[in-house]
């Protein structure tokens, strides 16, 4: 939206048709997915919280937004990574189930 105002007040005049198109794009992105700005913000907080288990990220430069392409809308996230923690880091390791336990042991007949 800020960039829209810049175009309007700033230098070269943006045509009303162009403004119409950009306003529509924005509205439709949110309305197709029924994602409110509040939900997007909550999502952003949760995503950051999960990622911090695995890596150090630059929270100031995170961009999470919706992108329209064709009839569908995608959630895009761009998250600058500062440092990755241990490769196998995750939530508290004690609570993490051992993947090997997913395989049932075979009973010998």
């Amino acid at each position: 939206m800020v960039s829209l105002f810049k175009k309007f007040w700033g230098g070269a005049e943006t045509s009303s048709a162009q403004i119409a198109k950009e306003r529509l794009r924005l509205v439709i992105k949110y309305e197709r997915t029924d994602i409110s700005p509040l939900l997007l913000e909550n999502l952003r907080v949760d995503i950051i919280s999960v990622l911090k288990n695995y890596m150090e990220i630059d929270e100031q430069k995170i961009e999470i937004n919706l992108d329209q392409s064709g009839r569908s809308v995608a959630l895009n996230a761009s998250i600058p990574i500062l440092k990755v923690k241990r490769q196998d880091a995750g939530p508290d390791d004690r609570d993490r189930p051992d993947p090997a336990s997913n395989f049932k042991t075979r009973r010998r007949r």
Partner: protein, 266 residues
């Protein structure tokens, strides 16, 4: 084989659903197809007036569903062109007088006798829309090049997709080439970038539409206006003909040259 059942809808009111239904119905009938135009707007019927058949309406589709008359009694045959009938809406009832199941059954009742069943849908996204769309196979959605119409039609397209109607094709109505050329109106490309559905035609703003409605004579009885030609072309495309979308924004001679060229294409 059975008819193609097409719902003509938009979400937004006043963008040209009824006008499009009437003109396409006449255009298809003139191509020799058996067409029934069904007004599904219970309580606010208008297709009868746009087609100029209002004085001959006796029964309506609700009477047929409620078995108060036979289907043949409710169908109003257009005497100006063969193969064309109107099935009117009830005027003194409300939209909840009919259920989606009954509408599906009505469409099935019409299928054997026609090539095309055109369902003129009321504005909105609630019961009236659902009743009109439920019995249809395909959809034509209508939008003018304005933010409100495009926003509403996007929602309608989403609803039609979830109802598995296909194909969904767009008519851009009341297009003004001069304004588009001056970047004061969204172009067909702008609209398609946002909506991403197949475009089946662009109908220019045309005073003839008002005169035609005044007289109750759909434009497509003749082809000597830009809108009439556009509707005739849309009918042709519905029949599978490859008619290129003419650029109404002639950078080569202005809009009048563009129109003349279009008319010369007859």
């Amino acid at each position: 084989m059975g008819a193609r059942v097409i719902v003509i809808t938009a979400g937004k009111g006043g963008v040209g659903k009824t006008t499009s239904t009437a003109n396409l119905a006449v255009a298809l009938a003139k191509e020799g197809k058996k067409v029934v135009a069904v007004d599904t707007d219970i309580g606010l019927r208008n297709l009868d007036m746009v087609m100029g058949l209002e004085s001959r309406v006796v029964y309506n589709f609700l009477d047929v569903i409620e078995k108060k008359c036979r289907l043949a009694q409710a169908l109003v045959r257009d005497k100006r062109v063969g193969n064309l009938c109107l099935l009117p809406a009830a005027q003194t009832r409300t939209k909840d007088a009919v259920s989606p199941e009954q509408m599906v059954q009505l469409c099935e009742q019409l299928r054997p006798d026609f090539d095309f069943v055109l369902l003129d849908c009321p504005a909105g996204i609630e019961g009236g829309f659902k009743n009109a769309a439920v019995g249809a196979d395909e959809a034509l959605v209508v939008a003018t090049p304005e933010v409100t119409a495009v926003r509403d039609v996007d929602r309608i397209i989403g609803l039609l997709e979830s109802m598995e109607k296909e194909p969904i094709r767009l008519i851009i109505n009341r297009f003004r080439p001069n304004m588009v050329r001056n970047n004061e109106m969204m172009s067909e490309k702008d609209i398609m970038d946002i909506l991403s559905v197949q475009l089946i035609g662009i109908v220019p703003e045309d005073d003839s539409v008002i005169k035609a409605t005044n007289k109750g004579e759909p434009l497509t009885f003749s082809r000597n206006s830009p809108a009439a030609l556009a509707y005739s072309n849309i009918a042709g495309r519905l029949l599978g003909r490859d008619i290129p979308l003419s650029s109404l924004r002639a950078s080569d001679g202005g809009i009048w040259a563009g129109f003349k060229r279009m008319l010369g294409m007859e």
